[in-house]
């Protein structure tokens, strides 16, 4: 059965992190460090979220001279709302699966 869009653990971890401060702009490198995702996993997720209108992107001026401008991200209003729903839906089902895996939990 095909998986529902944006419900993979990696995508949910990115959404959860972005939701912690939905109005702030986030850098890709920091997101990678905080979620533990490699750049090859993180960037396709960000790209897909931006395509779907969940994510707003902006080029920010570099903090140090000589460095290239940096791409920053934050959730859109609709993105934040949908992300909250997705995370709420995902949490109980994950909890159920984890409980089922523990011997003697039923």
């Amino acid at each position: 059965m095909p998986r529902l869009p944006n419900t993979s653990p990696q995508t949910l971890s990115v959404l959860a992190l972005l939701l912690e401060s939905p109005r702030s702009w986030h850098y890709g490198y920091a997101l990678s460090q905080l979620t533990g995702l490699k750049s090859g996993t993180l960037y396709p997720i960000l790209l897909r979220l931006a395509d779907q209108g969940w994510l707003e992107t902006r080029w920010a001026e570099p903090e140090q001279p000589g460095r290239p401008p940096r791409h920053t991200y934050r959730l859109t209003g609709a993105g934040a709302k949908t992300a909250r729903t997705k995370l709420a839906e995902a949490a109980p089902s994950r909890m159920t699966r984890r409980l089922a895996a523990v011997p003697g939990s039923r």
Binding site: S39, T41, L46, L47, R67, P68
Partner: protein, 277 residues
Amino acid sequence: MQMPGFLERLADGLARQLLSWLHRRVEPGSREWLDALTAESECADDGWQRLRWALGGVPLVWTINQRRQRNEPTRGTMRARIVPGVANIAAIAGWYAVIIPAIYGATHFLRCHLSFGNQPGGCQEHPFVFASIAIGGAVLGMIIALALRARFAAYWWAVFAVFNTVGSVWYLRSGIVDLPRYGATQSAMLMAATLGVVLAAIMRETPGTENDHGPSAAHLIAGMISFAMVDALIRMRDRPLVADNVSHYAILGSAMFAAILAGLIRRHHRTPVERPL
């Protein structure tokens, strides 16, 4: 020399080279996300971290190119499939309908008959007339196909333009001294020209080189591979053919000329408009 320092610099250099190589694999209008990843690589603390970060560019580029292919506006529409098909058929069949009567008209006018032997009265008595018709016909067919944006037809006529040109030079240089070799050499030249065109046509171009108009190294490599393949086949089947230098050069010329011509057609046919993601 300190090994860790050297290895770190090596990793850093590799990371930069990889990012630069990946950059060339993406259309200019679709580079935003790769530029984002590249800019963040500056935050890495050392060369190894930068290399690990840069390696993530590989799946990203794959995702970007997949998305671009999905978003191509004409992809999958019925009209987009029918129009090039009709143009290709028209450019091939239509032009044959002109060339064949032209050849028969010339034989009638020159009072000779089409023959591929050296007997008196054959078309070999008028090599320049028939070579001009054959070469001119194929080149004009290619130009018409390019004007109609019929790429397959352009490749088709490119094969015959090469075959007829190299074949005419080969014939004028060596004539028919050994009839069994004549057919074998012609077949080998045609095979080399076809392979050269096919390989150069399927060879993946580096995006972002829209302003280059000459044949690239990739096309020359395609020509060399075609020649090597035909040469290997001949050596298995008809070794005396490769012993003859003129015939051998004719096969090499066919493969190289065909690959270069196909490269030029491919560049000419490329859509000039950049498509954003």
